[in-house]
Point group: C2
Amino acid sequence: MAKGRGKRVTIGDVAREADASVTTVSRVLNDVSTVDETLADRVRQAIADLGYRPSATAQGLARGRSGTLGVLVPDLANPHFSDLVKAFSATVRDSGARVLVMDSDEDPTVERELAEDLLRYADGLLLCAPRMPRADLAALAARGAPLLVANRRAPGLALHTVGVDFHQGVLAVCGHLAQLGHRRVVYLAGPEGSWANRERLRALAGAEAFGLHVTVLPCGSTTDEGHAVAETALAAGGTALVAYNDFVALGLLSRFAELGVRVPDDISLTGFDEIDLARFSSPPLTTVAVPRSGLGRAAATALIRLLRGGTGGAPDGGTDADDPENAEAEALPVELHVRGSTSAPS
Amino acid sequence: MAKGRGKRVTIGDVAREADASVTTVSRVLNDVSTVDETLADRVRQAIADLGYRPSATAQGLARGRSGTLGVLVPDLANPHFSDLVKAFSATVRDSGARVLVMDSDEDPTVERELAEDLLRYADGLLLCAPRMPRADLAALAARGAPLLVANRRAPGLALHTVGVDFHQGVLAVCGHLAQLGHRRVVYLAGPEGSWANRERLRALAGAEAFGLHVTVLPCGSTTDEGHAVAETALAAGGTALVAYNDFVALGLLSRFAELGVRVPDDISLTGFDEIDLARFSSPPLTTVAVPRSGLGRAAATALIRLLRGGTGGAPDGGTDADDPENAEAEALPVELHVRGSTSAPS
DNA sequence: GTGAAAGCGCTAACAG
DNA sequence: CTGTTAGCGCTTTCAC
């Protein structure tokens, strides 16, 4: 029986036990080229008896691919990324591979190194690195490994990306607010260098076109930061507050409750990202739902397709890098959810 | 330069380029047995020129270990586990290894398979599987691979565990409530089979000793479930509600806000787990902080130690399984945080 | 101090 | 349909 002894059970042990060759064992393992049923059964029996499991490492070496995909995120504790990773993993697993996760702890200076390390293990990489310097991105791309970048664009870099249409989301928020009659809104900005924040700002600028005047206040991305900035935000003289994300919005809401400021009667408030709790605040939050799981699935699908396509797979020459059509972007639609935290200005 | 061509750069390429042997290259790679500085420099230069990165797979095969640790969690989107995995990964990475994450999606029927698969890739495994059948656990343990189980006990199974002292946490909550003068509390129970829930119930039973009468109401672990059970909970006739976790508590709070029930004036409420948002609800939640990151770190440390110790490492005989001292438990302390959601009964 | 050669466990031509 | 034989890229005795 499969008692946990010292040495690993190898394919050779199985072959011996089943009185077959390792090739045959390998064949039944990968159910390939019809092996005689009797023999196959004997092999399966031996596998079961010995509790044999093929070593993924050996398979990887022999096959030339590890069966592993990497994903690098800035913060796994952020629901945005844990949902993404979760969906990514599920899809990847369905395709028969596994996922190696790395967390850069929001530190752009280690991202490059982590990514390179990940590539030693993985067949491909999903990169969520909103603040990685362009040069590092270029260097990674030049490694030639299948690389997919999430929520970030890198013009002229010929890399594949997937992302969420933040622009449209912010526009939807602004449209909603404008329609309610708001004219002056204040935006509580997210992290400085982040692509998501830049994208929001870009959209906000566009929103001025339909009669909205927006003031930008530095803030951040956490509940704490939202809480801390509440009074300043109030003083900024808008009738509506557009928070960088739901965490910030909930922080504001919390502070407002303490201050006796009523939302939306005294001031309207919107979030972004739709975390689970957004429906359960008082009042429930008007926010933009972004397809986190959808993004994870899309990323997995795209990366797997890249793998299959074989980037630079041709031994010599073939489709090389400077193909302008080589880069490919995908932007998933978002959805505005109007709830109790917004109303017409008083 | 390191242009991303078709073929992978191997140690042989580096050796050729540096006019050295692969052995030497391997040596400078693993900085072992003083290689002559001149030669070493030449090798390093070649490595840089070629953009060489050792294949983790090949290293794994040759070394007999993959440099990868696995972790299986029920739900990566749950902050409890994402924090745990994050801290686990960080610690594991500091020790030079990587982490393979798998998410069982709360489905106990796939856990066994996922764990076995993980073990094909990883040198060791951290198992968070609160509902895995004992037999499966035993089977995994019998595989002989370094295995660490989080937040769950398995008497007689001689496996290593780390966990949080839920028992003490619940007792602290009850003590707090009792001291405020509560006599009748209702517990909103978590998922049926889960160890965490069983542990809470066990502690609750103990709490009756100091004068608390507790009614148990089935509920669940999500905000939605808390929201849904609110009215029933109210009708159960307690002066305080002990929620399975913070999500449930926030769901209750949300529903209470809709119903005009005031917390803590009309009823006291406690959570468990201290999610980030617990401080920001209205009122802020009295809850029990569990050291999620600490648990992740402790798990990593323990697992790494197991790896070093070499479970069943002795080729024949040696320290075998039925050693009673072989199993080892670690229970991290928790901390009650009293906030605005609890007060003396009216 | 350095290199040649034998594997690590598996897959994949290539014969029979 | 089945087995023999090379490797996959690296580490590691073991000689030099």
